[in-house]
Symmetry: C2
Subunit: 216 residues, 2 copies
């Protein structure tokens, strides 16, 4: 990494900066404020980086998120539509799901793709990890590019009322540009794949690409 650039200090009376990996927060107590099968909400009493007392509410996810950009031999992306209870609107997204701790994220991604869409893929490539949104929660996720698709029968979770469709990759990116795919994980995974493919959106082979020295 390049050297940090010197920047003007905004607080002349500030103590010497801590080393980059030192935790400037101190936790004094933690109370479980809420839990359900998917999340825990903790209320912490802390000393803040400035030395003053404060609080922090942390939303802990009991699973990890996975998102899959699944592209078929006709260069169409598998999209899933559902009504998002939290947002109060219908949402088209890439297949996503929660992977319980203890399950391998890739296996979880295979399972979610199969359950939500009935699709199986012969080749899988991890295209990145992420943390969302790290100011308030500790959720992490993984993104995959899946190709070599075969269609089976979906087995959605009872809480899911899903529609599945396949949309050409270039049209999916146009949907992103029109704001029709608001979901952050979907947008990030699709942008990542678009960059892998280059400005011409030429398809990449996940197997070959994974073994090359190109940026993923």
């Amino acid at each position: 990494m390049p050297d940090p650039e010197p920047t003007p200090s905004s607080r002349s009376a500030a103590p010497e900066p801590v080393a980059a990996n030192d935790n400037p927060w101190r936790r004094h107590s933690r109370r479980l404020a809420y839990e359900n099968p998917w999340i825990e909400v903790h209320h912490d009493e802390v000393t803040r980086p400035d030395g003053q007392p404060g609080i922090y509410g942390v939303v802990h996810f009991r699973g990890r998120a996975v998102g899959i950009v699944a592209i078929d031999d006709e260069d169409r992306v598998v999209l899933v539509g559902q009504f998002r209870y939290t947002m109060g609107h219908y949402s088209w997204e890439i297949p996503e799901g929660g992977v319980p701790e203890g399950e391998d994220p890739l296996e979880g991604a295979r399972r979610e793709l199969r359950e939500e869409t009935g699709v199986e893929a012969s080749t899988w490539r991890e295209i990145g990890g992420l943390e969302i949104p790290n100011s308030i929660s500790d959720e992490i996720g993984f993104m995959y590019l899946a190709t070599g698709l075969t269609q089976g029968t979906a087995e959605p979770d009872p809480t899911e009322d899903l529609r599945v469709r396949r949309v050409p990759f270039t049209e999916v990116m146009a949907m992103v540009d029109r704001g029709e795919i608001p979901d952050a994980l979907s947008q990030l995974a699709l942008e990542r794949v678009a960059r892998l493919r280059g400005s011409s959106y030429e398809a990449v082979d996940p197997v070959d690409a994974a073994g090359s020295s190109e940026p993923r």
Copy 2:
């Protein structure tokens, strides 16, 4: 949008599908399980899309997220480093912040950039909105590309212990590829800008680009 592709139904006894915009969930009660100045956690009793009783925990954000890709005349991106309490590690990100309801997101973005980094920008372009993560929360955000930078003095929030540095755009994308910028909002905003610039990462002018018909 293209026509939905017919897909095999996984539940032969399922009722007729609802119209895409109909909410298949029914909420019967809502209890405030936790709140602090930044979030509210609601515990809802619901009827699920399959007609069975269920629960839903919703994390409501009292503000909206903004993230700013600020690029100076030497094509360097302004990054902010801080210890993320929720994740338990140090994190380099683009400048981000929470914008209270009632404040314009662009004004909030200008304020956060100025407070966190001391940087002001002469040209601003919105490069997309997002929802994160919509299975459990209702947080929305906006992303901006800011150029024409001038350096002033930062005024960070007392809870923030920030470092600021400027890193060449190509090196920032290499950091993304090495997993050194895990934050989802940062990754998405940077990928969006990378796509705007094209495979050569040639700088785009926000003002000109906003008026063009090119994909954002």
